[in-house]
């Protein structure tokens, strides 16, 4: 069976006009990114900080932006062909959950509209009654009570309710691939597990999920496979237990080290120092030479500066680092 989703050597460049010197700045948001998700439903976590390119990948997969070069294939067929010839079907099969539970709702309308439009646009029901029952089913599936939710305006629901509402929308659509862009980062830590449990259940119902986040805790909780991305490049990948228990790349180690553990007996043992390169926003890189992590790496070697380390397989994981 072919892969559900495949990205091959995807490059995305943004040019930013630099008014002062009238010279265009070229930013490599994504630099030679490749990964795939096979047909079996699973949760793939894409972990990276802001500016790492993870949101760009999200937009590329959803067809909201075009890659500068490289290929994106869905079920073996290039994305641009889906968008041109079969847009509705693609939209039906590939959906998204956004990060901000407030901004995804159009404040002018009641929340019901979101579910009704989905049913109408994709012909998911034959008549109003069937539509109503689908809506109720969807809401129940994510733990929301239809009576309390329908008929309200977005600002009348809490953040947790709104995010789950989006899940209900996805449930009704039954996509093949759900791209979740930081879906729980704006929810309380205690509500996150509830939400993620639903995503796990979706997996059991055949919906694969590309879970994009900067939070390793939740990535660990929900995913089967994990990709670590930094400055537009994938630095490490592998089954989640392996990557978390045995991180190979210095960046992965740094990420794991930075996570606070809710246990006062296990506080951070080291102190982070500020590094000048962290002052500016990290938004991709301007050049393609050398390892993207060179500036922040404690183990940086001479060759790291000018050469891009190839992906090396170490056990079940793959890592892009000259240490291996």
């Amino acid at each position: 069976m072919e892969n559900l989703l495949e990205l091959k050597n995807v490059v995305k460049i943004f040019t930013r006009a630099n008014f002062a010197f009238s010279r265009e700045k070229v930013i490599y948001a994504l630099n030679d990114v490749s990964f795939s998700m096979d047909a079996e439903p699973k949760v793939l976590a894409l972990v990276g900080e802001s500016g790492s390119g993870k949101t760009t990948i999200c937009k590329l997969i959803l067809g909201l932006e075009e890659p500068t070069s490289g290929e994106i294939l869905y079920k073996g067929v290039p994305l641009y062909r889906w968008l041109k010839e079969n847009l509705k079907e693609y939209r039906r099969e590939v959906q998204i959950i956004f990060q901000d539970p407030f901004e995804t709702f159009n404040p002018f309308y009641r929340v019901d509209r979101i579910l009704w439009t989905v049913i109408q646009k994709f012909n998911l029901a034959r008549d109003n009654n069937e539509a109503k029952s689908k809506i109720e089913e969807g809401l129940e599936a994510v733990g929301l009570r239809a009576r309390e939710i329908l008929g309200r305006y977005p600002h009348q629901l809490s953040g947790g309710e709104r995010q789950r509402f989006m899940l209900a929308r996805a449930y009704i659509l039954r996509p093949k691939l759900l791209v979740a862009d930081e879906p729980v980062s704006m929810l309380d830590a205690s509500l996150r597990a509830v939400f993620l449990d639903h995503l796990k259940e979706f997996k059991r119902n055949g919906i694969s999920c590309l879970y994009i986040t900067h939070d390793l805790n939740t990535a660990y909780y929900i995913s089967d496979y994990i990709l670590i991305i930094y400055a537009g490049k994938i630095l490490e990948r592998g089954p989640v237990e392996g990557v978390i228990r045995n991180p190979l790349h210095p960046y992965t180690k740094m990420l794991i080290n930075s996570i606070p553990i809710p246990d006062p007996n296990k506080k951070w043992s080291d102190k982070v120092n500020i590094d000048i390169t962290q002052l500016q926003k990290v938004s991709g890189r301007e050049t393609v030479d050398g390892c993207v992590f060179y500036n922040r790496c404690d183990y940086a070697m001479e060759r790291c500066k000018d050469n891009i380390p190839p992906m090396k397989r170490v056990g079940e994981q793959e890592v892009s680092c000259f240490l291996y």
């Binding site: 900080e49 809490s158 830590a189 597990a193 930075s258 809710p262 002052l279 926003k281």
Partner: protein
């Protein structure tokens, strides 16, 4: 330890067309000198309102209903705006939620800091500038940051600037509301560590509001757990994590995902609305240890063991 600030039965309500939303409904706690006190709880529990109320920063339709905030022998809530303004920033400073996004984008960092300093104390421009630069270096920011504009810095660095601003005038207490939310994880660690160190380096007391228990585990000395507008448990960090007494605290600790385990148990039910808090103990609809009395009587906060307070009928209480 000496008490530096005491909040007594503070109530802050919000006027709505459905009646008053009792967001903070009688919170009492003491802040000790030179400690880092964490205030934890989910969204809507009133933790931000607690700080806004204590600093008299409540804006309409919110209003302070009743209660006292004792500092230096005076009830701060009785001071008029002018007197309170003198204390703000100089003795009690505040890093509000999302402050890194409210820096003025068209004014240089240095200027904003100096503006703030001058508006709170009578001091010359060059002296204010010196204070500002010193504050920046106190948080480890290189001096060129002073000349930059906010948009040139990453979110984490902007937040650091806000921390610098809060220590400019060497206050006695710093109130920080969700100071590292929305930052990348490495930046979170960086800024969190800095906040934790303020105590050692400047002898300042820190009150940190955050919903993420892990942050409190890292930097707080004591933690106050809030639920439904009230404080339900206060204790040292090791007590809260090691011997949580209140069922809500236990639920909270179990619900947070972490790298240590791949499971997490959520608290059943949904958070109640401040327009109609449940009767008696507000947690009773969701509590697995509920008893009859819980529906009727709201348990008071009492000291069960040294410095460990809880408001729950399981542990007696009047």
């Amino acid at each position: 330890m000496d008490t530096i600030l005491e909040i007594q039965d503070l109530k802050v309500y919000f006027r709505t067309i459905f009646g008053d939303a009792k967001s903070l409904d009688g919170a009492s706690l003491r802040v000790y000198e030179r400690e880092v006190l964490g205030i934890a709880g989910e969204s809507g529990c009133g933790k931000s309102t607690l700080v806004e109320g204590a600093l008299k920063l409540v804006k309409p339709p919110g209003y302070i209903h009743s209660g006292k905030v004792l500092y230096n022998g005076r009830n701060l809530l009785e001071l008029d705006d002018e007197e309170f303004r003198k204390i703000r920033w100089k003795e009690l400073s505040y890093i509000p939620q999302g402050s890194m996004n409210s820096l003025n984008p068209v004014i240089k960092i240095e200027e904003q800091m100096i503006d703030g300093i001058i508006s709170h104390i009578d001091i010359s421009y060059p002296d204010a500038k010196e204070i500002a630069l010193e504050a920046l270096s106190d948080v480890g920011l290189p001096s060129d940051v002073a000349q930059m504009f906010p948009h040139e810095l990453s979110g984490g660095m902007r937040q650091r600037v806000c921390i610098a601003m809060s220590i400019c005038l060497r206050p006695k207490i710093i109130f920080a509301d969700e100071p590292v939310t929305a930052l990348d994880v490495v930046m979170q660690k960086l800024n969190l560590q800095t906040i934790g160190e303020l105590k050692e380096r400047f002898g300042v007391t820190v009150v940190m509001v955050a919903h993420d228990m892990a942050w409190h585990a890292e930097v707080a000395d004591r933690i106050a757990i809030m639920y439904a507008g009230k404080i339900v448990e206060i204790g040292t960090t090791s007590d809260i994590f090691g011997k949580p007494l209140h069922p809500y605290t236990k639920g909270l600790l179990d619900a947070v995902p972490s790298l240590e385990r791949r499971f997490s148990k959520s608290i059943p039910g949904i958070a109640p609305s401040p327009l109609s808090w449940p009767s008696g103990c507000r947690f009773h609809p969701r509590c697995s240890y509920k008893m009859g009395v819980c529906e009727e009587i709201d348990p008071p906060l009492i000291e069960i063991e040294k410095d460990h307070f809880v408001a729950c009928h399981i542990y007696g209480g009047r």
